[in-house]
Symmetry: C2
Subunit: 216 residues, 2 copies
DNA sequence: TTTATAAAGTTGACGGTGTTAACTTAATGC
DNA sequence: GCATTAAGTTAACACCGTCAACTTTATAAA
């Protein structure tokens, strides 16, 4: 009959070990340095053993990406935990997000890495859940700030949180890609971005008069 | 004596041929599909010949990345060309930038791809120039809009153009990475982002009162 | 307890890759 | 014409992802 000599916990533990080794390899050598051979060498098993837990390298990388989302989600959660004031939480969240991205740029870049031609990244429910949860932290804080009256919004909180998220990610991404070539640094741009978005979001009528983008 | 049987133009032409083939391979198979073997197979030469023009695959990919920047720079230049009004130019630029990113997501992602561990991306002057020029288009339009009085700014035009660039890139990047999982789409977020940034940038006093980000 | 069974792991192999070295070809300056 | 040297070719090495065949080993059934 069915045997299942390893319990679900044991299987999960083995997966974690593999991912630990893979993340370690990735962080000091990029994606090219992640190989089943090196992973299994670190773990002391044969180079084919990890295939029991990850059917392909792409599946392994997809799991790594989900890990990266969990990592930044936890960074944000830990950052907002000590605060009660919603605005202070929003500030702490943005700060933690950007700090995390700058401190571990490779791991950060992993989140936004959809260069594979296959659509495994679209079909992985584990990755999708990790994405949703990490964005969910931001959405919850913005919603709370809105509900408490501390943050007036011209749009709904969900849209606003998308703007904050995109703005923060845009700055981190440009910084990581070495895009600030004309003297501006992320240290001065981040507060400006946050305050500019906040100011713009609080005054819809101003936005309306200056909207020039065609929606086609 | 020195021979140089190929003229500089011929060398440049050969490089372009190689990059054409490499870009074609990249666009329908990702980075893994780009190989010296396949490139030389397309070109009809031996698999080692391209090494005369690109010392390594990383150098080839770096040149590809510079091409991606030149591509989006041209897309922006062509978009603003028919307009005279600075605000219309800014609108057309944002529209072209985002449209380009959505139409060719893989090529777009190539621009912000610094996952290699080596620092060749930092040292390539060709890539640095391409980065600077593409951002320069945005900066010039924002500066012109500011100078003409059509766009009032609470900060300098260079900072403002960085915010626009980061905001647009953030949205495109999130879209390409499949990040909009809660019902929001880029079509509605882009106009909101633009108008919000414009509104926020025009009213510094509002920004000042709501600034909560620590500058350390 | 013995034994059949299937999970877990190993080895070997295939085709593909980046890269380098040794080699061949061909064009130019003298 | 000839030596020189750029340009290109072939062979080889060490990796890599992946899979098939094999071995080990723990358990369910007898």
């Amino acid at each position: 009959m069915a045997r299942q000599t390893f319990s679900a916990d044991q299987v999960e533990s083995r997966r974690e070990q593999i991912l630990d080794a893979a993340m370690q390899l990735f962080e000091d050598g990029g994606l090219a340095s992640v190989s089943f051979r090196k992973v299994s060498s670190i773990l002391g098993c044969s180079y084919s053993a990890p295939y029991r837990y990850f059917a392909s390298k792409e599946e392994l990388v997809t799991a790594l990406r989900a890990r990266a989302y969990r990592w930044i989600e936890r960074a944000m959660l830990e950052a907002i935990a000590p605060h009660d004031d919603p605005l202070a939480q929003l500030n702490a969240l943005a700060d933690a997000y950007i700090r995390a991205g700058l401190e571990r740029p490779t791991r950060y870049a992993l989140m936004f890495f959809e260069l594979q031609s296959s659509d495994l990244g679209q079909r992985s429910i584990e990755l999708a859940a990790a994405k949703r949860d990490s964005l969910g932290v931001c959405t919850r804080v913005v919603t709370a700030a809105h509900a408490s009256g501390a943050l007036r919004l011209s749009t709904d909180p969900l849209t606003a949180s998308h703007l904050f998220w995109a703005g923060a990610h845009g700055l981190v991404s440009l910084q990581v890609a070495g895009q600030f070539v004309m003297g501006r640094t992320i240290d001065t741009l981040v507060p400006t971005m946050i305050s500019t978005l906040m100011a713009g979001l609080q005054h819809p009528e101003l936005a309306a008069t200056t909207t020039v983008h065609k929606t086609d």
